[in-house]
């Protein structure tokens, strides 16, 4: 039980329709903050590819091939480990189910790999069943580079560091090894509703 902070009072009043939508320790923002560990990469679309599968046996799409895949529009709430949540964000992307259908389900865990060297680990069960996308548009516009364009992973039910920007591949594997932030002490799974921010939470 946390001690009461002398003189601290709630200043933010979240509207009633937000009830039940904001995980513990989070606050709602209307901005779309940007967080990343290094410079924003800018990969030309004619050099962009996306791959999925076991190392050495991956299925790869060019940008044109990727954009020819069936797409979905989704509106979801997103939750960043730095405490902000943003409600009703609108994305377009290719469902990871669609990608795995083409490549074959082969391994219980995935490591997302990105331009700039970023990685993050996600169980395949959290990427399938309509729970994750490779998103290329936000709010009806092509995804900007600072928000992860040309395409980013979108796994809205986990903290947003799992929704890797500039994603280029999902490597399927047998073990759930930590990715970039997970190696620096962030939670291996990252469920915002259980407030799994850091290792041991």
């Amino acid at each position: 039980m946390s001690p009461v902070s002398r003189g601290f009072h709630r200043r933010r009043q979240d509207p009633a329709e937000n009830a039940g939508r904001v995980p513990p320790g989070q606050y709602v923002t209307k901005d779309f903050p940007v967080l990343s560990a290094g410079p924003t990469p800018h990969t030309a679309l004619d050099r962009w590819t996306f791959s999925i599968g076991r190392l050495g046996q991956q299925k790869t799409w060019s940008w044109a091939e990727f954009r020819a895949l069936p797409t979905q529009k989704v509106t979801v709430d997103i939750h960043c480990v730095t405490k902000w949540s943003k409600l009703d964000t609108a994305w377009q992307g290719v469902s990871v189910d669609t990608l795995l259908e083409a490549a074959g389900h082969d391994g219980p865990f995935a490591m997302a790999r990105c331009d700039g060297g970023y990685t993050t680990n996600v169980p395949v069960a959290d990427l399938t069943g309509g729970k994750a996308w490779v998103a290329y548009a936000y709010d009806g516009q092509p995804l900007t580079a600072e928000h992860g364009g040309p395409a980013r992973l979108l796994v809205p039910h986990l903290y947003f560091w799992k929704s890797a920007k500039w994603v280029r591949s999902l490597e399927l594997r047998d073990t759930d090894d930590p990715g970039f932030w997970e190696n620096y002490g962030y939670h291996i799974y990252g469920d915002p509703w259980r407030e799994q921010r850091y290792a041991g939470d």
């Binding site: 946390s2 001690p3 009461v4 902070s5 002398r6 003189g7 601290f8 009072h9 709630r10 200043r11 933010r12 513990p24 320790g25 606050y27 923002t29 209307k30 901005d31 903050p33 940007v34 967080l35 990343s36 560990a37 290094g38 410079p39 924003t40 990469p41 960043c80 730095t82 405490k83 902000w84 700039g116 060297g117 600072e146 930590p178 970039f180 932030w181 190696n183 620096y184 002490g185 921010r197 850091y198 290792a199 041991g200 939470d201």
Partner: protein
């Protein structure tokens, strides 16, 4: 793996405010007595948790302003709609309790062994973790050459000015004031862009290590300019500060 040692449980604990320092009209440094602090690296941050009498809880992250080995301190900028920052800057007093856990983050950090030359680029309150780096360098007796480029709106918005006006040997501090300048100002008076960096940044051939912290627009502009001038992206570490809308 460098980060593996950090993968331990972070537990909440109650610290006591031992000093409140006025840095600028809107910025305070809170020095904290933390009963069980495991030590931190220059550049890391910590989490604060406030609890109201009705059980309402708010959490935020703040960069650590002090060097490893110094008492833990955070520097907080008051934001007009900031629930937590208003409390920390205007309400909290010496002797008050403050719940926290940390340290957090292990990428945007510097140790003397990481070398340099160092290029530190701060926008506004983005100076905070870089000040920890500067103090750490001095306390550790490092002679790594440093250039700090610090962009503020006005001279009165410069945080740690007394300290930065007397830099340690081997440290150059370059201010740029983007909104207004005092009479007789001879420093830079524009945004930290490619042209400014071409004048003051270490050349890429010196294999510098760059740390960029500030609002998103600052970080994007500066890091892109450095990449275009030949800095390898992996030698540029970035952290966004104050970009989370109403902390």
């Amino acid at each position: 793996m460098a980060g593996t040692a950090l993968r331990r449980r972070l537990t909440w604990q109650v610290a006591k405010v031992s000093a409140v320092t006025v840095e600028t009209a809107s910025v305070r440094t809170l020095t904290l007595e933390v009963p069980d602090w495991p030590g931190h690296q220059a550049g890391q941050h910590l989490d604060i948790r406030l609890t109201g009498e009705d059980g309402y809880v708010a959490e935020r992250s703040y960069s650590i302003a002090s060097a490893p080995g110094e008492p833990v301190a955070i520097t907080v900028e008051r934001l007009d709609d900031g629930e937590v920052s208003l409390y920390l800057t205007d309400e909290l007093r010496t002797g008050d309790d403050l719940e926290l856990r940390g340290p957090i983050g292990g990428y945007f950090v510097w140790e003397p062994g990481n070398g340099g030359p160092l290029l530190l680029l701060a926008g506004g309150s983005g100076i905070v973790p870089l000040r920890s780096v500067l103090r750490h360098r001095e306390r550790a007796g490092s002679t790594v050459p440093v250039r700090l480029v610090y962009s503020s709106r006005t001279l009165n918005d410069v945080i740690y000015r007394a300290e930065l006006d007397r830099p340690a040997s081997g440290v150059e501090v370059i201010y740029t004031l983007t909104r207004s300048q005092p009479p007789g100002w001879s420093g830079y008076a524009r945004r930290a862009d490619a042209a400014l960096l071409a004048e003051v940044a270490w050349p890429a051939a010196a294999m510098p290590l760059a740390y960029v912290c500030g609002p998103t627009s600052f970080v994007e502009a500066v890091s892109q300019a450095l990449v275009q001038s030949g800095y390898p992206p992996e030698r540029i570490k970035t952290e966004r500060f104050g970009a989370t809308g109403g902390t």
